[in-house]
């Protein structure tokens, strides 16, 4: 999927956030020497194409009193994985949910669901909810707690280049 030069300028101007003014897209347009209508039309088109996934806040779970972060991982039947993952994604406490390849024999898990909580026991309760939902289709599971952030850089589009992101 390609972005033209103006799309790219709009991505660069907004990827660190929208300004906190009454007409934020108008302010972006002024900075870029564009009309407000063009910025709004292009962002709307990018959203329809799926390049803009959503517009809103990124919550900091630590600051919101949910410092425990568990990557729950599940070994589920391949044939049922898509349907089960769709159900898990609907749970309000799951922030990301992906199907990934196994790495046997060390790693038998194919379904990954990120869960946040105020402490590990809350994460365990949520993990139990997922286990009940998966039922007998799940052959095994584990939870990996993060113990330290070693590096964190934002999603950034390099200038005159392509992308960096959060896979």
């Amino acid at each position: 999927m390609s972005l033209d030069t103006i799309d790219r300028k709009i991505v660069e101007a907004t990827q660190s956030g929208l300004p906190f003014v009454a007409e934020p897209y108008g302010e972006i347009a002024t900075r870029l020497g564009l009309d407000e209508a063009e910025v709004i039309d292009r962002l709307t088109a990018l959203q329809m194409r799926g390049v803009v996934r959503r517009v809103g806040v990124a919550p900091n779970h630590y600051a919101l009193g949910m410092p425990a972060n568990g990557m729950t991982v599940w070994d589920v039947e391949d044939a049922e994985a898509s349907a089960l993952g769709t159900n898990i994604g609907q749970l309000g406490f799951v922030s990301h949910c992906y199907l990934r390849p196994r790495a046997l024999p060390l790693w038998p898990y194919n379904l990954f669901a990120m869960v946040h909580g105020s402490d590990p026991s809350e994460v365990e309760e949520k993990r139990a909810v997922i286990a009940r939902l998966l039922g007998p289709a799940c052959r095994g599971n584990d939870v990996l707690y993060s113990t330290r952030i070693l590096k964190k850089t934002g999603l950034r589009l390099a200038r005159n280049s392509t992308s960096k992101g959060d896979g």
Partner: protein, 154 residues
């Protein structure tokens, strides 16, 4: 004005829950979002600015699908001997392709995301880390991403 490290109040939490997606793309988006929350436009702007400054929200705006813009991503994991953990962390973090990296309590104790401009770049970066560290880099590219429905965090 509350201090930068203030605890978010109920209105702040309501805003955070409601505005994880669907912020309008129009001339006066804060006015539109504020009306849905039964708030004043400028109160919403002021609260969001304060939450951002305090770090309660880490970003506010459009989230781009970097893969849709041509990039490639891959979650990777390594089993790093504890005595070498700090040295390997430095080797991994030194690579610009490493977007984030977490220590996790597991035999596979280092988990990071590679972000590259082309799909081939993932393999090249993973191999470079394997060569530098002498350790295997397990690759877990996403096969399918599931839609996150009702979002509730705060």
């Amino acid at each position: 004005m509350k201090s930068p490290d203030h605890k978010p109040d109920d209105t702040d939490r309501r805003i955070i829950n409601a505005l994880q997606e669907g912020f309008p793309i129009c001339t006066r988006p804060y006015a539109e979002a504020a009306a849905a929350l039964d708030l004043d436009e400028y109160e919403l702007i002021e609260r969001l600015a304060r939450l951002r400054k305090a770090g309660v929200i880490t970003r506010f705006g459009p989230f781009f699908d970097a893969a849709a813009m041509g990039g490639a991503f891959c979650l990777c994991a390594m089993e790093v001997p504890s005595v070498r953990f700090e040295a390997v962390t430095a080797q991994v973090n030194a690579r610009p392709e490493v977007a984030h990296n977490y220590e996790r309590a597991h035999r596979l104790n280092m988990w990071f995301v590679l972000a590259t401009e082309t799909p081939e770049g993932i393999d090249a970066a993973a191999r470079a880390i394997e060569q530098a560290s002498g350790l295997s880099v397990l690759r877990f590219p996403k096969l399918e991403e599931f839609y996150i429905g009702f979002r509730m965090v705060a």
